[in-house]
Amino acid sequence: MKKEKIIEGFLFACAAITLLTTIGIIWVLLSQSFSFFKEVSVWDFLTDTQWTPLFADKHFGILPLLTGTLLITVIAMLVALPLGLTIAIYLNEYAPKGFRKVVKPLLEVLAAVPTVVYGFFALVVVTPMLQKLIPGLSGFNALSPGIVMGIMIIPFISSLSEDALYSVPKSLREASYGMGATRLQTAFRVLLPSASSGILASIILAFSRAIGETMIVAIAAGQQPRLTLDPTVPIETITAYIVQVSLGDVPHGSLEYRTIFSAGLALFVFTFLLNNISFWINKKYRQEYE
């Protein structure tokens, strides 16, 4: 009886710590942002096209960081989605069982490599390679870290999508084969739609991972907030900016310092919205298919 009480208390403490941490994070973000927004208007924050808090001529427009974040994330998804899905379909439909068992965990290692390594890989290997193909490419750019990040998040998509494909009932496959469908036709017309909610979940996860990724972009994208959709020039993402300021010599408590909280809040709201949208899409999709 006593033992149970202790365990119960321990579990409660764990839950409480998690909850308190979350509340704490939100509290710090909000309170610091609050004092930030006393000096900078929300309107400027959302509409100004420059982000230069560390310069003499200060501008506090979040748009360049937001587009930078989106640009890199989209590039990463353009790489990860087709490759990840192809791998998932291949592993599920074509690969021999033993091969699948070996390759799946190997792929998952991709996500376990420290991101610093990816960052340097982007900077010293991928960028020079790309520069041979695209002569105007800057040494720092969105393209190279975007591609490398895409590779990093492949296993999020391939692994989870493969699980989703795997769980499509055998009877649906057989129905399709039975009418003369090839394996590829079956994969695209039956398996993918039937596994759509699981695949969507994998995409959401990969997307969130890409948005939150810091090291690769901090190292290889250059740290120049710039409102552009051009992937060949240096840009900065929200996370990279936060790292830059946290590691720099900006005095604590200053307005410059508080920018990282307002940027963090923007990121928080942004991912929160994305998650909700995808949750909503997922729900809608599910209703259609179940």
Binding site: S171, A175, R189, P193
Partner: protein, 254 residues
Amino acid sequence: MENGNIKIETKNINAFYGEKKVLHNIDLQMEANTVTAFIGPSGCGKSTFLRLLNRMNDYIDGFRKEGDVLINGVDIYSKNTRIEELRKQVGMVFQKPNPFPKTIYENVVYGLRIQGIKDKQKLDAAVENSLKRSALWNEVKDDLQKNALSLSGGQQQRLCIARTLAVEPSIILMDEPASALDPISTAKIEELIYELKQDYTIVIVTHNMHQAGRVSDKTAFFLSGDLVEYNDTKAIFTSPKDQRTENYITGKFG
């Protein structure tokens, strides 16, 4: 038996899952435009044998067969056979209704879409035609865009039959098509089989002997992977030659 009428013929079929041998030397000839029933206790190899006829076992790990299957006199396991073409010829209806999580309409035209047919009129015609032949048209003609999963089990199974008919096979394999259905739906399916026999060669697995008696012209009795007896259905049920057949149909075992 006149040879001209033989639609499906198997020669010396042995089948294995891994090391386990589940069919022993099956020789069987099935005639065109007849209903052939496979009966026998659960696990005796009926499904395995049926699925050999459209190569549905091909993707099962560890499955292996010996012997030949001829359809219209052609070896369907030869290198020249395209498996997709074979399955257009030999349609299949499964034990549990397995409609796709798509609309009724899309379920029926599935087999045509994968053949690349896009002509709306052709597809519409196929939908109406197939649903009429599977006796489902009147029940669903106003909600063709409804999700197939919203239909009842019996309706789903008739939809699966419609979907198979739309591909215009000449043979239809049915693996206990009514075993998951209520008696009324079962009666509908049986009636349907009777109708379809005019135009198709039908092979049906059932472990319901009464069903075999009602719908089939010929019956094959399987036991532990052996073909024990094969004859006109009437003969099997009224004067079985083998003691084991008699035991089975009189309900002494199985």
